[in-house]
């Protein structure tokens, strides 16, 4: 139905022989070159950002998927119950969890479990957000940190301490383990 027949443009002889088109092309590239050159010479490149000096962090959207991290709730409780769902769903198998039991004299004894160790290998992580999606406890979130660097492979493995450092406290989530709800 909606077939649109596109006519090939009729070219004049000088266009076919690349004469006028050559100059047209050169004009475009030269004008771009000149404009950008003047911007650079004036130290104000409009298109390119000089990355480490200039950043766009305040423009990151809320749904930005940076480094995954663990969070605590209002009561400083680790939200993770080490159900290991994230470990199983993680496509590149970046997460390694060693589950641990919460001792019975702990105020949060009824939660029963929390991770003894929680490691995310940031060399493997692909920032897919599956872990955040699958977590039944709203314990793991992808934060806005993106410049994850290290000098060794070991440095690139985030352990529990580091994960809570990045994640910090997060309030206003569902609280199913206390009376607040």
């Amino acid at each position: 139905m909606a077939i649109i027949t596109v006519q090939r443009p009729k070219l004049a002889w000088h266009e076919k022989a690349f004469i006028s088109t050559l100059f047209k092309g050169l004009k475009i590239t030269l004008s771009h070159a000149l404009r950008t050159f003047l911007q650079i010479a004036g130290k104000k490149p409009k298109v390119t950002m000089e990355y480490p000096e200039q950043k766009w962090d305040d423009q990151l959207p809320d749904y930005y998927r940076g480094a995954p991290a663990l969070v605590t709730d209002e009561h400083e409780r680790e939200r993770c119950v080490s159900c290991q769902l994230c470990e199983f769903i993680c496509p590149p198998k970046a997460i390694t969890i060693t589950p641990g039991e919460i001792p019975s004299d702990d105020p949060w004894a009824k939660v029963e479990k929390r991770p003894k160790e929680f490691e995310i290998d940031m060399i493997r992580c692909i920032y897919c957000g599956m872990c955040e999606e699958v977590c039944p406890e709203q314990a793991i979130f992808l934060r806005k940190d993106y410049a994850i660097t290290g000098l060794s492979r070991k440095e690139m493995v985030h352990d529990k301490k580091r994960l809570y450092e990045i994640g910090g406290q997060r309030v206003g989530l569902v609280n199913k383990w206390n009376e607040l709800k």
């Binding site: 050559l22 050169l26 950008t36 390119t48």
Partner: protein, 399 residues
């Protein structure tokens, strides 16, 4: 034995050696790095990017606060960094290659490219009486009277490097690249050679130094604005000369495998073309050979058509200001000689900028278009141009 030694002109030998080292290793090779830098920066601004702007002398390695940027222009040392990277990379030789030719090929691209610079006059002459050299030294390595012939003879050897690289790699993409390149080079060499025949007819001379001196006094070939250049004959002959210039430039693009004629490497079709299987410094040699060929080609075009080392309006400026701006054989001050070298380099650089601009403006030709263009248009145009010049010269002989 003693008689043989007595016949050798020691001063000539030494100056020749100094010129060879000075021109090839102190001018052409550094110019290659400058070209690489220019290419990257210029392509960047064409595409609204910034380009390499950070690499300087890495003083931070020695505990300083900041890297040193020469003249405040960032990134000037990018090419050096690239070079170091190439040297440090693993030099991988695939097991299936024909090792001897595989190693020979990169050398065969660089050596002819550098050899051709022997006949290029890169300056007028240097008056070295300060250092006790009586005769002024001509700023050309070998002042041959068949200069351009020599250049074309050697430059056409460059194709062997590419063909051998393609063949010895024992892999299909390099092979296709090599075959394409040989077909392309042969086709365009014809028009390249034919395109400058009119030039020699006009000059009646094949010695590049003399050609340049003539242009210095009488206006550049395609810009005859002073001296005898203002005669009617020169302006009538200007038309075929302009054709020559255009054909020569286009053919040179094809000869040096530059876009829009870089069918030999053609990333979109042939991965990397003839140097797909090469890595590390061997790959860098191909790169260097290509850029060196480009520099020499530009030098050739500048020498033939744009007055080589001559300062525009030299004789006019001389008579206006009283200072000497043009070359007089035997009495050219050292300073002027140096300025001439500078002018030559500046012209070559401008020409290379043109190369780069074209590369980032035009899309690549299809291979059949390329061959068709070479054989059905360039060849005929060059041939007709020879005829045209010959006919015109009946009425307007130059000398």
């Amino acid at each position: 034995m003693a008689a043989i030694f007595a016949n050798i002109d020691l001063a000539f030998l030494i100056t020749a050696l100094v010129k060879i080292v000075g021109f090839t290793f102190m001018m052409i090779l550094p110019l290659v790095t400058v070209c690489v830098y220019l290419e990257r920066r210029f392509s960047a601004v064409i595409q609204d990017r910034v380009g390499p702007n950070r690499v300087g002398i890495p003083l931070t390695l020695f505990g300083f606060k900041k890297d040193l940027q020469i003249l405040g222009i960032g990134g000037l040392f990018q090419a050096a960094a690239d070079g170091v990277k190439f040297i440090l990379k693993e030099d991988f030789t695939p097991r299936s290659v024909n090792t001897f030719y595989y190693w020979l090929a990169p050398c065969l691209t660089v050596v002819p490219a550098l050899l051709t610079c022997a006949v290029l006059p890169f300056g007028s002459e240097l008056d070295l009486s300060l250092f006790g050299v009586v005769q002024p030294v001509k700023a050309v390595i070998a002042d041959l009277s068949v200069g351009p012939l020599y250049t074309f003879a050697i430059a056409s050897l460059g194709v062997y490097g590419i063909v051998l690289a393609g063949w010895s790699s024992n892999s299909k993409y390099p092979f296709l690249g090599g075959v394409r390149s040989s077909a392309q080079m042969i086709s365009y060499e014809i028009s390249l050679g034919l395109s400058i025949i009119p030039v020699f007819m006009v000059f009646g001379e094949m010695n590049l130094s003399k050609i340049t001196s003539f242009q210095d006094l009488n206006g550049w070939l395609i810009l005859p604005l002073w001296g005898e250049g203002l005669s009617v004959g020169r302006w009538v002959l200007w038309i075929p000369m302009m054709f020559s210039f255009i054909i020569f430039t286009v053919a040179m693009f094809a000869e040096t495998n530059r876009l829009p004629f870089d069918l030999a490497e053609c990333e979109t079709e042939l991965v990397g073309g003839y140097h797909t299987e090469y890595s590390s410094m061997k790959f860098a040699l191909f790169f260097m050979g290509e850029y060196a060929a480009m520099i020499i080609g530009s030098g050739m075009a500048v020498t033939l058509f744009l007055g080589g080392w001559s300062i525009p309006f030299g004789p006019v400026l001389t008579s206006l200001t009283g200072f000497q701006f043009h070359h007089v054989a035997g009495s050219t001050p050292l300073l002027l000689g140096l300025v001439h070298i500078g002018v030559f380099l500046a012209k070559v650089l401008c020409f290379i900028m043109f190369f780069i601009l074209i590369r980032w403006s035009l899309p690549r030709f299809r291979f059949d278009q390329l061959m068709k263009f070479g054989w059905l248009f360039m060849f005929e145009a060059a041939l007709l141009n020879v005829l045209l010049t010959a006919v015109l010269m009946i009425w307007f002989p130059l000398k």
